[in-house]
């Protein structure tokens, strides 16, 4: 097989893996949008916040250390413990549930029945607040996150593909883990929403608030539940991105990449978020590989947005979204 084609295949596979990470962030958006009609701009920041909290708890960092030290004149930074990854993840999940409750109690509860644009604006505010709050709580330096996930080149794939083609593919172990986890997450979410009591209630709330109330569903409970699940998805995304490129504030910008993913997949479809993520991931890498050299590279920065723009023009509901029909 010609080298160029093999290299292209490797790029394709790497694109798929990158797409999984986009899909993870997009998934969080879809969940909240489906259940409450809120486009949660803060989803990306939630992933950042989750990752920051995870690192903080694992390393025994004192929250608000700068603030405490500045006001009390002390010099405390660490509790002096190192927690195992799994314990820290569980504790962080607790924090995300608390956050979900707080978001509903202090923000969303007061905006029931408001226009979608107002809810959207509220989540923009929330995003900036959480970014600042995360900074204040854990500091703004880039942190290393290692919860014990395998990293580095997968030697198995390298050897197998070398045996097949005489050319070893470079695939990161972490990407493989991310793919498996994303798949499990989608399966779990689908089973939950289709077969559990709360899942059925969640779909009911997404469909009609009044009817949901009349069959005995507490909207407040469902909203906290949805934001908690979105928090959980954000945590998973935060762990993956954080392990890959360190926990840093540019992580919240990844949320912007989720937008084209959503425009492709449709805002209301869980499979859409996954497929959209994969298409963007692969498209962006292949485009850079094929067209990049002709235009001087750096196509990855804009490819996703141009693709999204085309979709907005020709298929506004996305690949899997509900068709928008206006009855008159």
């Amino acid at each position: 097989m010609p080298d160029q084609l093999l290299f292209g295949m490797e790029v394709f596979l790497n694109g798929l893996m990158a797409g999984v990470l986009y899909a993870l962030v997009a998934l969080g958006f879809v969940l909240i949008y489906k259940a409450s009609g809120v486009f949660n701009y803060a989803q990306g920041v939630m992933a950042l916040f989750a990752a920051l909290t995870l690192v903080g708890i694992m390393e025994g960092q004192v929250p608000f250390a700068h603030l405490i030290n500045a006001t009390l004149g002390t010099e405390i930074h660490h509790f002096g413990w190192h927690l195992p990854g799994i314990v820290a993840i569980l504790l962080t999940m607790g924090v995300m549930v608390l956050l979900a409750w707080a978001v509903n109690h202090f923000v969303m509860r007061h905006l029931v029945n408001q226009e979608p644009i107002i809810l959207f604006m509220a989540t923009i505010g929330l995003a900036y607040f959480m970014e600042g709050f995360g900074d204040l709580m854990w500091g703004s330096d880039i942190k290393k996150l290692d919860v014990g996930l395998p990293q580095g080149m997968s030697t198995v794939i390298d050897e197998v593909t070398y045996g097949w083609f005489g050319y070893g593919f470079f695939i990161d172990n972490l990407d493989i883990v991310a793919t498996v986890i994303a798949a499990l997450l989608v399966v779990a979410l689908t089973i939950f929403s289709q077969y559990s009591k709360q899942g059925r209630a969640l779909r009911a709330v997404a469909d009609d608030h009044q009817a949901a109330l009349s069959v005995g569903i507490s909207l407040k409970f469902i909203w906290v539940l949805v934001w908690s699940i979105a928090g959980f998805v954000a945590l998973v995304a935060g762990i993956m991105w954080g392990t890959k490129s360190g926990v840093q504030f540019s992580l919240s910008l990844i949320a912007l990449k989720a937008l084209p993913v959503l425009m492709l997949g449709g805002f209301t479809s869980i499979p859409g978020a996954i497929v959209g993520g994969l298409i963007i991931g692969v498209g962006e890498k292949l485009f850079e590989f094929i067209v990049g050299p002709m235009v001087g590279g750096a196509t990855e920065n804009w490819f996703a947005y141009v693709l999204a723009l085309l979709f907005l023009v020709f298929r506004p509901q996305g690949l899997f979204g509900e068709k928008i029909i206006e009855r008159v």
């Binding site: 559990s196 009817a211 949901a212 009349s214 069959v215 569903i217």
Partner: protein
């Protein structure tokens, strides 16, 4: 009708009506400066079909919304099963065993008929999220038991043929019937119907009347309904409350109400001089 005692009464067609189940005491409901309901009291007895009628804007729907917790009255008390009810949210009212339908139909349009009716069982599902994940068997048994009730309701309302159809595709009359099915699936103590026959043709109205009577007969469900169509109401109900401009102007058997001068005036209009 015989005299109403504390224990109840016997209807004209020989059905036995029980003690008071729900009592509204001096309910007043205001929206800003507008009084939707002014000082209204009435009761609903075990096993009876109770109608609330009145011209447009009389406050009938508001009254139903007070019973189902969608509105909280500024004055007055709601008593249910001999206990004063604290102001509560609609979902809590539903959990107490009061199911309802809506004038403008509130179904889950994206779900199938079966799924819609299944949501009516939510208040009966005990297993929490964790136990559902861990004790798969228990959750499954519960699901099966709930499905049995749902299938019974679906058979009863003769909607077997459309059980897998997405609700959005159904015609209006069938949607109304699915909504009734969802309310019935909750096995409610009290069933509230907000204009169950609005917008229906004669045939559909007859079907719906039959279902309402059958529900009451078969399951002994207490029913409170709002209706516009005087003829239908008089045939269906055991006792009727008549409202006009937010006030109660009549209360009694269909015959009593029909001969009540205030009611005749409200419906036919009266010359003011």
């Amino acid at each position: 009708m015989n005299q109403i005692s504390d224990e109840g009464y016997i209807t004209a067609d020989g059905r036995k009506i029980g003690a008071v189940m729900m009592e509204m005491k001096n309910i007043t409901l205001r929206f800003g400066g507008v009084k939707a309901i002014t000082d209204i009291s009435f009761d609903i007895r075990q096993g009876e079909i109770r109608a609330i009628i009145g011209p447009n804007g009389a406050g009938k729907s508001s009254m139903l919304n007070v019973i189902s917790g969608f509105y909280i009255p500024q004055e007055g008390e709601v008593w249910f099963h001999g206990k004063k009810r604290a102001p509560m949210r609609p979902f809590q009212v539903a959990q107490q065993g009061i199911a309802r339908t809506f004038q403008n139909i509130a179904l889950f349009e994206g779900m199938s008929v079966l799924d819609n009716v299944m949501t009516g069982r939510l208040t009966h599902m005990k297993s929490g999220m964790l136990s559902q994940a861990i004790w798969k068997g228990k959750a499954e048994r519960e699901e099966v038991a709930n499905r049995e009730v749902v299938e019974k309701v679906i058979d009863f309302l003769e909607i077997q043929a459309i059980r897998k159809t997405p609700v959005a595709r159904l015609p209006y009359g069938l949607k109304k019937r699915v909504e009734l099915a969802r309310a019935l699936a909750a096995e409610p103590k009290l069933l509230l119907l907000d204009e169950p026959m609005a917008g229906m043709n004669v045939e559909e109205k007859e079907d719906m009347s039959r279902f309402i009577l059958d529900v009451n007969d078969e399951f002994g469900t207490t029913i409170a309904l709002i209706e516009h169509d005087m003829g239908v109401v008089m045939d269906l109900s055991d006792r009727v409350v008549v409202m006009d401009y937010g006030k109660k102007i009549g209360d009694g058997t269909p015959d009593e109400v029909r001969n009540n001068q205030n009611v005749i005036d409200a419906y036919l209009g009266v010359a003011h001089d």
